[in-house]
């Protein structure tokens, strides 16, 4: 017994130190060999892909490099190129402002949307970078929609001020009534705000403290895409949260309203909703009412995006373990507190990739308004620019520019969301 035992008895007397890997497992040569030439098939594939990439570059690079940047028509470009391949970027230099602002926006007022655009970054900074920007800046964020409206549409300063005042009145009534019950406060505030807006509609504000007004149909170009994208995304997130929570509600009426809304809107193509906004709504409105087309489109796109975002957030809510709800309840937090402090911060964090996916898709879908004859970036290219005598036949350059504008914006959004995910990571895996 003791003999067999002695054969495998072992006590380590010295712990082994950490050692570096062998030289053949390091260095650039190893990386190239392992990633490009590790087998016959991989070597063939590498060479094939290399040839294809070279071929594409040989076509595209001269086209870009020979590009003509000045001239006032396509024939000018052809003359300058004298038979060689080359792009006609002259259309971009000549029509750049139209691509950005549409062809009807008064050119002496371009500074106003531009200022609104720059202020947008100041306004969203405290929302996007909560940790790094003082939260007092949120006051500017709240005021920004009214400032931007005033800058872009112009008209009387009283219009945005009265709109803002309606919100203030609604909020005031809400705080007075919410102590009795949330529903009373919510609907009381809503009713007070609506009443205020309807009454203030009768005020003769025209021309008081006014700057030159611009009409909705004069707004176009990439500016229109940005307006629709920003407004609809920022509205659809709170609506989406409300719909997602409503769909989870234990109150059957609220639940069914949310389910029907989400399922109906998701089951309809956006383009039909836009046609409804453009044409059909006019039949239902009393004759003579002037219901702004951009506002109608904003309502439709927001409804559409809210339904999608609601489903994304519902996924996030479903991913949370029941224990989180139970822990929040067992500590005595009420429904609103547990949602705001415990459930939504976690559910929204899980939903970030999905929400950004919807937001990016939505932003690109704003080009669909070109189908209902609004002159957004794509509408400008397909309409006034391509059909003009000077630039008839120029496609590649214009759509390349449009693609680049959208790509830069969407890539920025996507990078931000990845940064935010890293920022919010607390699991330290």
């Amino acid at each position: 017994m003791s003999d067999t035992h002695a054969q495998f008895a072992f006590v380590r007397s010295k712990m082994l130190p950490e050692a570096p890997p062998p030289a053949s497992e390091r260095g650039a040569a190893k990386w190239v060999r392992q990633n490009f030439f590790s087998s016959t098939i991989n070597t063939v594939m590498t060479i094939f892909v290399f040839v294809v990439v070279i071929q594409i570059a040989l076509t595209v690079v001269p086209w870009l490099a020979n590009g003509v940047w000045s001239g006032s028509s396509l024939s000018d470009c052809r003359e300058a190129l004298a038979g060689e391949t080359g792009a006609c970027f002259a259309v971009l230099s000549e029509r750049w402002n139209q691509l950005l602002f549409g062809f009807q926006y008064p050119s002496e007022l371009y500074w106003r949307p531009l200022a609104a655009f720059l202020l947008l970054f100041v306004a969203i900074a405290p929302v996007l970078f909560q940790k790094y920007v003082p939260s007092k800046m949120l006051i500017f964020t709240a005021l920004y929609p009214f400032i931007a409206f005033f800058l872009i549409w112009g008209g009387s300063l009283l219009t945005p001020v009265l709109a803002l005042a309606g919100f203030v009145v609604g909020y005031f009534v809400y705080t007075k009534l919410v102590a009795q019950s949330f529903a009373l406060g919510f609907f009381g505030g809503l009713f007070a705000a609506l009443a205020f807006w309807i009454l203030s509609g009768y005020l003769p504000v025209e021309g008081i403290l006014a700057i030159e007004p611009v009409e909705s149909r004069e707004i176009g170009g990439f500016m229109l895409n940005l307006i629709l994208g920003t407004v609809c995304v920022s509205l659809s997130i709170p609506f989406g949260i409300a719909l997602a929570l409503g769909r989870q509600s234990s109150m059957p009426i609220i639940k069914w309203i949310c389910v029907v809304f989400i399922e109906f809107i998701r089951g309809v193509p956006l383009i039909t909703l836009l046609f409804v906004a453009n044409v059909v709504l006019a039949y239902f409105l009393p004759p003579g009412t002037n219901f702004d087309l951009i506002l109608r489109v904003i309502i439709m796109i927001t409804m559409f995006a809210s339904a999608y975002i609601a489903e994304v957030i519902r996924g996030g809510l479903a991913a949370l373990p029941r224990g989180q709800y139970e822990a929040a309840n067992s500590l005595g937090l009420d429904y609103a507190q547990s949602m705001r402090l415990i459930i939504l911060p976690q559910a929204l964090k899980i939903s970030i990739p999905g929400i950004v996916n919807v937001a990016v898709g939505l932003f690109k879908d704003t080009t669909l308004v070109s189908v209902i004859s609004m002159f957004d970036l794509v509408g400008m290219i397909r309409g006034p620019i391509s059909s003009s005598q000077e630039w008839n036949g120029v496609y590649w350059e214009l759509f390349l520019a449009a693609g680049l504008l959208f790509f830069v914006t969407c890539y920025g959004i996507s990078q931000y969301s990845q940064w935010l995910e890293r920022e919010l990571r607390t699991d330290h895996r």
Partner: protein, 256 residues
């Protein structure tokens, strides 16, 4: 099942009174005619095979589960569908879960101060002082600014206990607090619970830790098939069980 066991209550003040309480999951009758009176300062351990309804029973006490028949009075407040009563009871009754259920997006300190700040309206400074006091008591004040994901299971469970204590509860419920822990970490959590018991906290623990039951419980309750089968003081319960079902259970859980 009448509440006929010999009473070893610490005081005459009734903390929890449950009368003829019944609960169904759909058509499944989980809890049948539960009668239980808990006196202030009592430490009760509930044991029983899985599925016997012990967790459901304590989850009914703070209305995480709804009961369909009978009456539950916690600290003088009748548990009904009235949300105000439910919130009042929940803020007086602390609960510790099997899977800790800490809030992963908040630091340890924030986990502990959240409810005092929002429910009790305690000023932030004061809530943080209280939280640090209880974190010291569970022996992890140095982890206050970490996130739950950075802590071991035993540490997380002690934070969960501290989080409940920050609400200054009159009663603590423990739902299998050591069942999800490695053997090495069970002791540190049990030690925390023992010191809590020594301070006179009213406690109801669902647990399989029979050593803990012998050491601190005034009363051990054995449940099976949704009913209280036997209850007694620990010495009697372990050395001289009366019912056959209890004997079988004890022989299985103490037999190795």
């Amino acid at each position: 099942m009448a509440d006929t066991a010999p009473q070893m209550h610490v005081s005459d003040e009734v903390a929890i009174s449950i009368q003829r309480m019944n609960k169904w999951y759909g058509t499944f009758h989980v809890l049948r005619d539960i009668d239980l009176t808990v006196y202030a300062g009592e430490r009760i351990v509930i044991a029983g095979p899985s599925g016997s309804g012990k967790s459901t029973l304590i989850r009914c006490i703070n209305a995480l589960e709804e009961h369909q028949k009978g009456k539950i009075v916690v600290d003088g407040t009748l548990l009904s569908s009235d949300l105000k009563n439910i919130d009042k009871i929940r803020s007086e009754v602390g609960m510790v879960f099997q899977h800790f259920n800490l809030f992963p997006h908040l630091t340890i300190l924030e986990n502990c101060t959240l409810a005092p700040i929002w429910v009790r309206k305690t000023p932030k400074r004061e809530a943080e002082e209280t939280a640090m006091h209880f974190l010291e008591k569970v022996k992890i004040p140095d982890q206050a600014n970490k996130y739950p994901g950075q802590l071991s299971g035993g540490q997380q469970q002690r934070v969960a206990i501290a989080r409940s204590l920050c609400m200054m509860p009159r009663i603590m419920l423990f739902d299998e607090p050591t069942s999800a822990l490695d053997p090495e970490m069970i002791k540190e959590v049990l030690d925390t619970m023992v010191s809590l018991a020594e301070e006179g906290m009213t406690m109801i623990c669902v647990t399989h830790e029979m050593g803990f039951a012998r050491q601190v419980a005034n009363r051990v309750i054995f449940m099976d098939q949704g009913q209280i089968v036997e209850q007694n003081e620990p010495e009697e319960f372990f050395n001289n069980p009366k019912s056959e079902r209890t004997k079988l259970f004890l022989s299985q859980i103490l037999g190795h």
